[in-house]
């Protein structure tokens, strides 16, 4: 069915590595809480475009790597990423035909779900955090989604015409 060649996976892996670098890059304290969840955005995009290759399993591995580099509870981000990727793959055909505005609303819902799971796990594990750490990334993530989507579509188009 799908051609799982290395040349096809490579662009996705590169974007994920860049995403991880953006995630651990230092930012001034004032805007740090508004850093978008780059890896969540990337997983939503790739699960929407290539749901056979980039599905819940990949999301889980990305989440574990994120947990280790953050030092959060092992499995916390893995769980959250896994859940939103599941929803994305489940509705990927619908999301592909959505106009951009409607797609942004869907992304908002997915990011909110992502942060809610993180919040919920933090609550159970008794980790206290300011509330801006949760809603900040959702807002910025939704606002940059249209640009992110256009940019990533370009990346995908180029990488496909390359091989």
């Amino acid at each position: 069915m799908s051609r799982d060649s290395a040349s096809r996976r490579l662009p996705v892996i590169i974007t994920l590595i860049v995403g991880l670098m953006l995630t651990i890059m230092p930012l001034p304290d004032a805007i740090e809480a508004f850093r978008p969840d780059w890896l969540a955005l990337l997983m939503i995009f790739w699960a929407m475009q290539l749901p056979r290759t980039w599905s819940v399993g990949s999301a889980w591995i990305v989440g574990i790597v994120l947990d280790v580099s953050y030092g959060t509870l092992l499995g916390q981000h893995a769980l959250a990423l896994c859940v939103i990727t599941f929803a994305t793959v489940r509705f990927h055909l619908l999301m592909r035909v959505f106009p951009l505005s409607q797609l942004s609303a869907t992304v908002f819902a997915l990011l909110a779900l992502y942060q809610f799971i993180l919040f919920w796990v933090n609550g159970v594990a008794a980790v206290s955090a300011p509330s801006v750490a949760y809603w900040g990334p959702v807002i910025t993530g939704t606002l940059i989604w249209p640009f992110f989507y256009m940019f990533m579509s370009g990346v995908r188009y180029r990488s496909r015409s390359g091989d």
Binding site: M21, M25, L74, G75, F86, A133
Partner: protein, 299 residues
């Protein structure tokens, strides 16, 4: 939607998606439980952490390069000025050190007279902070030394002005440390002026600590220096922690409202020192120390 669900021939159907997701979710929950309850997963953490290390180095590189560029383009004039300043500073420090040697000898003699255990000089090592952001839920930093260099969980970190924090997660080549200003951090301190013991709790604000367990009649005032008391075992005694900046006594409340400003520049440090405190404490001493730590200050 292209076609309806339920047909295996449907090209849009991803095989066993729900099942895979369910299994992974359960695995995540088990992992989180194990990680929260015990430390069985340190090996996995260290393995993946070592794999992420190159990325941290790459992220850190531009900042390091910028610093190097700044260093190598300083003018000769500036360097000479800096050199003069440093030489003067060194002279002063050396003069103070001379007295310190004599004082240390005297201290050892007195301790021997009192039969107290000798306080051995702490071993230190300079570590650089990597320009890498970690956990969004706590005040922390990543340093460029790890278990390879003998760093261990719970190790104290100071800078030139005072206590910075302690190591909480040791990787192979890096370690994560929590700052004393983190809302979940508390450390045993004493007032340098009179030895009044209490606990300094982080507030989540980088420039403020709270001292919530001081009664209204406690002898403490603005300007008092707080130093580590050495109780609790994580921090060696005698390092400056913070300076009290306000004491508000509310007669109707059992405890005074005391806030302090950390001595270390928590938001700006670039280099820190790790402390290996030498004296191994015996079991009995340990027990009494941890018992007194939880007590109210006895003034």
């Amino acid at each position: 939607m292209a076609t309806s669900r339920g047909h295996n021939t449907n090209p849009a159907r991803i095989p066993a998606l729900g099942l895979r997701a369910l299994v992974l979710i359960l695995v995540s929950i088990v992992l989180m439980y194990l990680d929260h309850r015990q430390n069985h997963l340190d090996g996995i953490r260290k393995g993946i952490g070592a794999a992420v290390y190159p990325l941290q180095v790459v992220v850190d590189a531009p900042v390091r390069f910028w610093g190097w560029l700044g260093d190598s383009t300083t003018s000769r004039n500036q360097l000479e000025l800096e050199l003069g300043r440093l030489q003067a500073e060194r002279l002063l420090t050396n003069a103070r050190l001379q007295r310190l040697t004599a004082l240390e000898a005297e201290n050892a003699r007195l301790r021997a007279l009192l039969d107290a255990r000798e306080s051995v000089r702490d071993e230190v090592r300079v570590a650089e902070i990597m320009a890498v952001d970690a956990n969004p839920y706590e005040h922390n930093l990543v340093i460029d030394v790890g278990s390879r260099d003998g760093v261990y969980d719970g190790q104290a970190i100071v800078d030139a002005d005072g206590v910075v924090g302690q190591v909480i997660r040791t990787g192979v080549m890096t370690a994560q440390a929590v700052l004393i200003s983190d809302a979940d951090h508390a450390l045993p301190v004493e007032v340098n002026r009179n030895g009044l013991r209490t606990i300094a709790v982080g507030t989540g604000e980088i420039d403020r600590l709270d001292l919530p367990f001081l009664p209204n009649n406690a002898d403490i005032r603005a300007g008092d220096l707080l130093v580590t008391s050495g109780l609790g075992g994580a921090f060696p005694a005698g390092y400056p922690v913070a300076v009290v900046d306000s004491v508000t006594r509310i007669p109707s409340e059992p405890f005074a409202d005391v806030t302090a400003t950390p001595s270390a520049a928590l938001g700006q440090v670039r280099e820190v020192m790790l402390i290996w405190s030498a004296p191994p404490v015996t079991e009995a001493e340990n027990a009494t120390e941890s018992a007194t730590e939880t007590e109210e200050p006895d003034e």
